[in-house]
């Protein structure tokens, strides 16, 4: 951001505010509570066909032949497609900007399938039931290949090799080491690591494991593809990244980008699972082949077993600390299971270290990360994006370090956590003169978060000893995330003035439930001085709205919010220029409040609508359109403190959550109710990650728990008493001082609960989820008494 725009941003960021900072109800609230047909699965078109996917029963096989004759003989079955019918253009499905840091290792349908459940053939029929029937009639010849499922096995010499090296395209990533199934690798050092370890009194090493997790967005992946009157391919789809999907779909099906229109209707939750092209090329291929509208909706069991998952990770932490509680060196080595295709492998493998270690001040840091191909379902983006795995390891480890030197874990964190000023040591990039700093810590209210959280949970308050089999304990963790990725984002909007003083706000941003339609409308209304009802929003249509990278990396409110603010400032400037002519005065003396134009002595008598009429029908005859976009030099981290109280039943191993205190430093809240909702939801997902959620496989790579009965997400009855606190400490770079809120909360629960279990029982669990079985087994092997209560 140059100085000029920074000044402008600050000049309009002073309160008091009329719309910003209020918990205005969602602009889309009415549709949601009346059951309006707004999701992709609700869309129907005349002549629409229904599609199903024939999936591989083998974890690794060549598809030699697909014989559709019997299926096609069924009345009402229109088309069966397999890999020979589709363009074989390698691409990536990860919804990130061009050039994607991901090897192009997949095609729309692959001639070699690499996980059990990978699409082999596509069927379009008059109904879903018919398509299901046809699935059973398609004959496929496979050449079965040996498969490998675990990271440790896949990297061994002689293990089945999943991919050969991809074509080298300048600017794009290749597979790091195809012979050893290593999809991606990152190494990073800051400072003199060996010297920093030498300076320590103690060097400690611990190992942590995290499971495969499912997004479980309630809306399944769904795409409706059709050719319009201009023979253009339209895809209405449940995506977080419409513009990335348009680019990748063009490549995957070898179509000109101009022929594709992606529309995002209401999306029923994403959490990263829809930051990915999953169904679009399949529905589109069938629509192109049949010239009929085709809707493809994933059944729930396929959501679990064949969409996308969070990378399972294996993480080793090593640190040097001094006796007085200072960290000298911090090292992390992580291996992730990326499954059959790389997708987000490279970026997640990096993020595990890069989004975490900089939370603490040390003399030196080292991070080594690998992503390994296996014959498992594809791992992709998932709320937290690697940081969630990283923080389970880091924040459990920090607790272990504190206990090692008999220091209160809260005090240990206070002495070592990062603070405002300086750069994130894990965010230096190769530049012309060696490493150049990436993001800076432009604001940090962690001390206040810790103080408020500690007070609410009663940290350090003497507690009665539990005499029975149920032991209670307190635990905590801190974490940060980003607000977009520094220097990597683009988002924006246009604002068109209508006769009545209302504006069409057209933004590429993607509301997936987080509420961006509402907060972006609030930002526009605030800057324009108009009421919220005068903003008419349309979002994420690649034909109509400006480019936006989409809903991921906690970026929308920060980046697109900045773009919307600039668009609104642009429109306001144009309105005031016309108003100044109408009043024969200086535009600098005018402002807009409550839809009216105000001068130095109060109301001018003009409304925004009067200006609109003047421009549209008066002497000016012009259409006022404000335009703004934004990228970011920074990615100010939101900081977060998690406190929990648990009760561990030492006879059954059951861990019950009693209380959760969630304290977030988000700069400023555009809409406090939506912001606290983000925290509550993220934390609840974190509870599941900590205690119950794990996608399990048998030794042939078959998913064992593809449903809500066996894959347990938290229900209303599992919830602890929850308190969420928003700490407002405006960030100098954010629009109105705001930072992100969507992801950071998911990182807190797993380590905080692990730390609380330790506090309650002396048992240190280093593997998620912390099931009753693991607790009981751990307690049986436990030697020595439980630790003293903290502080």
């Amino acid at each position: 951001m140059d100085n000029l725009t920074l000044e402008q941003d600050q000049a309009t960021s002073e309160g008091p505010f009329a719309v910003f900072g209020t918990s205005a109800g969602r602009v889309d609230g009415r549709g949601l509570v009346t059951g309006a047909p707004v999701y992709t699965v609700d869309y129907e078109m005349p002549g629409m066909l229904h599609a199903r996917i024939l999936r591989s029963p083998h974890p690794h096989a060549r598809v030699l032949l697909v014989d559709p004759a019997q299926a096609l003989a069924l009345k009402g079955v229109h088309k069966v497609l397999w890999w020979k019918d589709l363009p074989q253009v390698p691409h990536t499905t990860s919804g990130v900007p061009h050039p994607e840091p991901a090897p192009y290792d997949t095609c729309a349908l692959n001639s070699t399938v690499r996980y059990k459940g990978e699409p082999v053939a596509l069927i379009a029929a008059e109904s879903e039931a018919l398509a299901d029937q046809a699935l059973k009639l398609v004959r496929v010849e496979y050449e079965v290949l040996p498969a490998v499922f675990e990271i440790s096995e896949a990297v061994k010499p002689g293990a089945p090799q999943l991919h050969t090296q991809v074509e080298i395209i300048p600017g794009f990533k290749t597979i790091y080491d195809p012979a050893h199934n290593i999809a991606a690798h990152g190494e990073y050092e800051f400072g003199d690591v060996e010297a920093a370890f030498s300076a320590a009194d103690l060097v400690i090493e611990r190992h942590y494991e995290t499971p495969t997790m499912c997004h479980c967005a309630l809306e399944p992946h769904a795409s409706l593809a059709f050719l319009d009157a201009y023979d253009r391919l339209n895809v209405v789809t449940s995506t977080q990244v419409p513009f990335h999907v348009r680019r990748q779909l063009a490549r995957a099906l070898d179509l000109p980008l101009r022929r594709i229109r992606i529309t995002k209707p209401r999306v029923g939750g994403g959490f990263g699972g829809k930051q990915e092209m999953v169904l679009e090329p399949l529905a589109a291929a069938l629509a192109l082949a049949t010239r009929r509208p085709v809707r493809l909706v994933l059944p729930r069991n396929e959501e679990f077993s064949a969409s996308r998952v969070r990378h399972a990770a294996s993480i080793t932490m090593r640190a040097g600390i001094t006796r007085d509680g200072k960290i000298t060196a911090l090292e992390m080595r992580a291996s992730t299971n990326t499954g059959a295709y790389a997708s987000h492998a490279d970026t997640v493998a990096h993020a595990i270290g890069h989004k975490t270690l900089g939370l603490y001040r040390a003399q030196a840091y080292r991070y080594i990360g690998d992503a390994v191909y296996t014959n498992r379902p594809v791992a992709g983006a998932f709320r937290g994006y690697g940081a969630t795995q990283g923080y389970f390891a880091l924040e459990s480890f920090i607790d272990e370090l504190a206990w090692q030197i008999k220091l209160d874990p809260l005090e240990f964190r206070r002495r070592n956590h990062t603070e405002k000023g300086g750069f994130d040591p894990m965010d230096y990039h190769p530049g012309l003169n060696g490493l150049e700093p990436g993001r800076s810590i432009t604001s940090c209210a962690l001390p206040e978060c810790l103080e408020q959280g500690a007070k609410l949970i009663g940290w350090g308050v003497p507690r009665p000893v539990d005499k029975g089999p149920v032991k209670r304990g307190l635990g905590m963790a801190i974490c940060m995330q980003g607000s977009g990725v520094a220097k990597m984002e683009l988002g924006g909007a246009t604002l068109k003035l209508n006769d009545d003083g209302s504006f069409n706000l057209l933004t590429g941003a993607t509301d997936i439930g987080q509420g961006s339609d509402t907060v972006l409308s609030q930002i526009a209304a605030e800057v324009l001085g108009i009421s919220l009802e005068n903003i008419i929003l349309a979002s994420a249509d690649t034909d109509l709205t400006v480019m936006d990278y989409g809903a991921y990396a906690s970026s929308t409110t920060y980046i697109t919010g900045m773009g919307v603010k600039r668009a609104a400032e642009d429109a306001r400037r144009q309105i005031l220029a016309v108003a100044a002519e109408m009043c024969e005065t200086d535009p600098a003396s005018l402002s807009i409040k409550q839809n009216e134009i105000w001068g130095p002595f109060g109301k001018t008598g003009l409304t925004v609508s009067d200006v609109a009429i003047e421009t549209l029908y008066g002497r000016h005859r012009t259409q006022i359109v404000g335009k703004g976009d934004a990228t970011s030099k920074e990615s100010p981290p939101p900081f977060y403190a998690q406190f929990v109280e648990v009760a561990v039943d030492t006879e059954t191993g059951l861990v019950q959550l009693l209380r959760s205190v969630n304290v977030l430093d988000l700069g400023r809240a555009v809409n406090p109710a939506l912001a606290s909702g983000q925290v509550e939801g993220a934390v609840t997902m974190g509870f599941g990650y900590a205690l119950t959620e794990e996608l399990r496989f048998d030794d042939q790579g078959t998913v064992r728990n593809a449903g809500f009965v066996d894959y347990k997400v938290f229900s209303p009855l599992d919830m602890p008493e929850m308190q969420t606190v928003l700490v407002e400490d405006p960030d100098p770079t954010g629009p109105f001082g705001l930072k992100s809120a969507g992801e950071v909360g998911i990182n807190g629960p797993a380590p905080a609960i692990a730390n609380a279990i330790f506090n309650a029982t002396g048992l240190r669990l280093r593997s998620l989820p912390m099931t009753p079985g693991k607790v009981l087994e751990g307690l049986e092997n436990l030697t020595g008494p439980a630790p003293d209560a903290p502080a």
């Binding site: 109800g25 009346t34 059951g35 967005a217 509420g515 909702g677 809500f708 919830m719 929850m722």
Partner: protein, 164 residues
Amino acid sequence: MIEMNLEVNGREENWQVEPGETLLEALRRYHFKGPKLVCGTGDCCACTVVVGTKSVCSCCLPALKADGQKVVTVEGLAEEGVLHPLQAAFIETAASQCGFCTPGFLMRSYSFLKNRNPAVLPTEVEVRKALAGNICRCTGYVKPVEAVLKTARVMQEKAREQNG
């Protein structure tokens, strides 16, 4: 195809359904898109509708079981465009995020509140128990529970006014 007659949201309907068709499938085929298919096994309650006096998972109920019955879906909560207090409370408390589970939460809560004495407010635990089968992946349940409690207070007030 089998013919059946039922009342949906106060209107008589004459449907042709397949023998194995679920109520959810039939409702959606007849353009009631509010109830959502999420799990198809009765494990998430996103498809909840009220049949007679009871809330049910319409993904597990054969459509023919609703023959001759009165069915209320989320589309039937508002009256002539005026939102039911429950719907208003869901908006006011930001209890919907992605909204996909919302029809199920609303119908389960609607049935829960309708089948109790409005003069006696439910406790938070009672509300959580009533919603125990409803899965939401976005909100952490804090705000949906708050919305139901808020509605109970509004309904209590209304009942008081009606009783003078």
